[in-house]
């Protein structure tokens, strides 16, 4: 690698990280705004999540008395995993830095590290709510994760690889691959998993603070100040990352397939538009959906799992 290539790689990675970080928070603001308007309320401004994070960074750090270093480390790990995935995933370009090693399975496991550490931190608070959130999140994760992995397998079979940039690029060069039944089944499963993993309706209600109904909010109840800001940023990044991957696998058009600044700018703009559209769809869906009872959620996820297994079988048969 020459110096120029390294510089380009750093620039591309930086651009993707910033668009995922800032864009993720704005996406949440956009979805909140849209939901409020649809429900007949005015709602906070779209950039409110950014203001919240800025405010939180200025506050004092507070930690529960008996917590250990795990509690303090969790927000950092959460954001770090999201940053690494944002840097190496094919979001704005199909040639991200370290793209050769951007394996779909690897990326899922890196993101999983973030959720595992957050679940540990929730237990570290020593409060009933932390344990409650952690237990529920792990139960849902234990069923959502397998569905996701099988969905990835279904998408990888026709491509003979689980390398993400290759999977996205194949969508550009062979559009018929996207419309293959195996891929469609796998992507629908992926969509269900995204809702579960990022705590959206109908699995978890992101806007509630009513103790007994919440999953994710219960886990991060004890965080305050800069730590809470990191958790909020990390969660927003993960949500927009997963959505970005979904839209690029579903409709890769617009993504930068050639090197060059113009292509990259177009890629970023298209990514923002596509992810915003996906967010709008989810927000509209959420207005008309009620939260599922906790013990009905596994049924939904099992549905996702079955879809993914069907996708694998279809991908094998329809070749």
């Amino acid at each position: 690698m020459t110096g120029g290539q390294v510089l380009t790689a750093i620039l591309v990675a930086g651009a993707q990280i910033v668009i995922v970080g800032v864009g993720g928070l704005l996406l949440l603001g956009l979805m909140r705004k849209l939901r409020s308007r649809l429900e007949g309320r005015v709602g906070p401004p779209i950039h409110q999540p950014l203001l919240n994070v800025r405010k939180l960074f200025r506050k004092q750090r507070v930690r529960p008395e008996e917590s250990s270093w795990v509690f303090a480390a969790a927000p950092v790990v959460l954001v770090a995993t999201a940053v690494v995935v944002a840097a190496i995933s094919p979001l704005a370009t199909t040639r991200p830095p370290l793209g050769r090693s951007a394996d779909f399975f690897a990326i899922v496991f890196v993101l999983l590290l973030g959720s595992a550490v957050l679940a540990l931190a929730a237990l570290d608070t020593g409060t009933p709510f932390g344990g409650m959130g952690s237990s529920r999140a792990m139960t849902i994760g234990a069923i959502a994760e397998p569905a996701l992995l099988v969905a990835i397998l279904a998408m990888s079979i026709p491509a003979h690889t689980s390398n993400l940039p290759v999977l996205v690029r194949l969508g550009l060069t062979h559009p018929q691959m996207i419309a293959s039944p195996g891929r469609i089944l796998a992507l629908s499963s992926f969509a269900i998993i995204i809702l579960a993993e990022s705590g959206r309706l109908p699995v978890d209600n992101p806007s509630t603070h009513l103790e007994l109904t919440m999953i994710h909010e219960a886990m991060v109840l004890e965080y305050a100040g800069p730590d809470l800001a990191l958790v909020a940023t990390g969660e927003a990044m993960r949500f927009s990352l997963l959505l970005g991957l979904l839209v690029n696998l579903l409709a890769p058009w617009g993504i930068a397939d050639r090197p060059g600044a113009v292509a990259l700018v177009i890629g970023i703009a298209m990514l923002a538009v596509k992810v915003a559209l996906a967010g709008v769809c989810i927000a509209i869906f959420e207005v008309f959906t009620a939260k599922l009872r906790l013990f009905r959620v596994p049924e939904l996820l099992a549905g996702g799992f079955v879809l993914a297994v069907l996708g694998t079988v279809t991908a094998l048969v329809v070749r």
């Binding site: 008996e66 090693s101 399975f105 139960t139």
Partner: protein, 673 residues
Amino acid sequence: MSNLSLVIAATAGLVAVIAGAALPRRIRVWAVVLSTWASCVAALTGSLIVLHTGRSMVLSSSQILPLTGVHMVLDPLGAVFVVITAVVAIASTLYWIGYAGHGLSTRTAAASLPLFVLSMLLLPAAGSVATFLVLWELMAVTSLILVLGDQHERAETRSAGQWYAVMTHVGAAAILLALVLLSAHSGSQTFAAIRVHAHHLSPALRNTAFLLAVIGFGSKAGAVPFHVWLPKAHPEAPSPVSALMSGAMVNLGIYGIVLVGDRLLGGGPVWWWLLVMALGIASALFGALHAATSTDLKRLLAYSTADNMGLVLIGLGASGMFAATGHRTTATVAMVAALLLVVNHAAFKGSLFLSAGSVQVATGVRDLDQLGGLMTRMPITGAIFLVGALSIAALPPLNGFVSEWLLFQSLLHGLPTSSTAVAIAVPLGVAALALTGGLTLAAFVKATGVGFLGRPRSPEATAAHEVPRTMQIGAGLLAMACVALGVAPFIVLPALGRASQIAIPGTSASVLRGSKYLHVAGLQGVLAPALLAASLVLAAVVVVALRRLVHRRSMPTPSLRRAEPWGSGRELQTARMQYTATSFAEPLQRVFDDVVHPDRDVDVDHVVESRYYFERISVRTSIGDIIENRLYRPAIRAVRWWGRQARHLQNGSVHRYLAYGFVALVLVLVVIT
């Protein structure tokens, strides 16, 4: 030259046994440990030479002691298992130095431990049926003595020992039958001769031998439904022994299946390996589910051993199927993935069992519901357990992740196949692999979070202190191996490639290439474990630096305040209000109710005046092993019943005995004529 290493290993091991039996208590432990280390280092050196050169090491006892039938051949496949055993043994015996103050320091234990290690070191080098069986039996008996340890007065330990003794001997009988069948029809008892003759055997004989071997070795590897001894013996055994059993002994079950299936019989029809894969899927799911719902820390680890061995069997099964359908390169990748998982499992399960033992020494309890808050009280043990837990949950940048990735890749790679059976089995295998991964993560978040984080749930946990330094180092060595193997799996992959070549001949050793990127032959994707680890660390450092920067600019005196947890504004929060392991696993248990079948007892005392008010409610739940209850217990009851019926034959009357003798004589005469 390298032949000498096995002789040295055996001699040093025997010295350790004598030292353990003869020396006084003060110097016994150190003498045994030092000579066991000498034995391990010698075996390790020999195996590394074999792995490096790729040439087998042959040693026949007629060279040393005439008229003894010992025949040793150490090939690269066996050498991998010797290396694993040696490393786990070095770490566990180091740990034992500190542990001996709390038990396992009697003469019997001190003599059995090195003998157990020695038998496991030599077993993969056995080159003939007799040598193999003698070492196998030695391993079974010494491990049984160690399981009973110095707790043999406890009813639970005695029952565990009984189960273990029966299961291991039923398994040994099956292995004996399989190997004797093969050697009888080959006319020689050396493995080399059996290998040559194996192709001329009738299919029925080959099938019988393979099935018997799967039963025998499967019971050692803890494959469902032969796993019942595992969740009993592993928790009751003293922790260094648990680590040895789980990190080294169960692997030899895997070795046995590869030995008979691939080495001696040279692969087989697809259905053999479908069977192995089915066993693997059952063990993986069953083990993971029980690990997720267990509340006893060591029982949880034992079930997770069944789960991991199940994953190894899935890899073995896939490898055999690919080889049988002619995809030999893919078969080698799957075999390497399975072997890498065996190596990784030894590292993380060893460190987990050893640190669980430290917890038991420090607190006296194994029940997760009574632990908590240990991360601040035992920071080093806690960190070791955390590393082990994250590794076993296959999270990057630790070693479990690499083997999981490789297993996924080999299954993905094997999919374009012509065989329908393979095309159905592989997606099922992937689904099982994925589901197991999710459940394992839940189990180990529970074990770490409830056991080590939060507030202590009992006075014992509150009073816990860090254990002696040797115990920390012993467990820490294996935890460091987890990190090293996760960042640089390349240090073991060439050796595993050679070993797979032995199991599946006729392929190139370089199916996995690269030193920075892990490249699977024929696949586009690569994995860069070191780069991934480096970028994760870099990202974490940048995030911390940025947080400091922003925080410092806005706050004149950045400070960290420790406060009472908020808990939704609840006042007076006690440690008893925390989620316990039972409550943590409750949702999962409900989801998998049909498989787990928990027993639930609810006692309600009503207030005398009104049935609508309660005086006291007590709830007891317990989760038994459904296979033990539905399969083994009825069998045991049937045997008991048979025994009671047989008792009627003996009523003490001499006349009746004379009649028996007469009838028997008549029968014999009838048969003869």
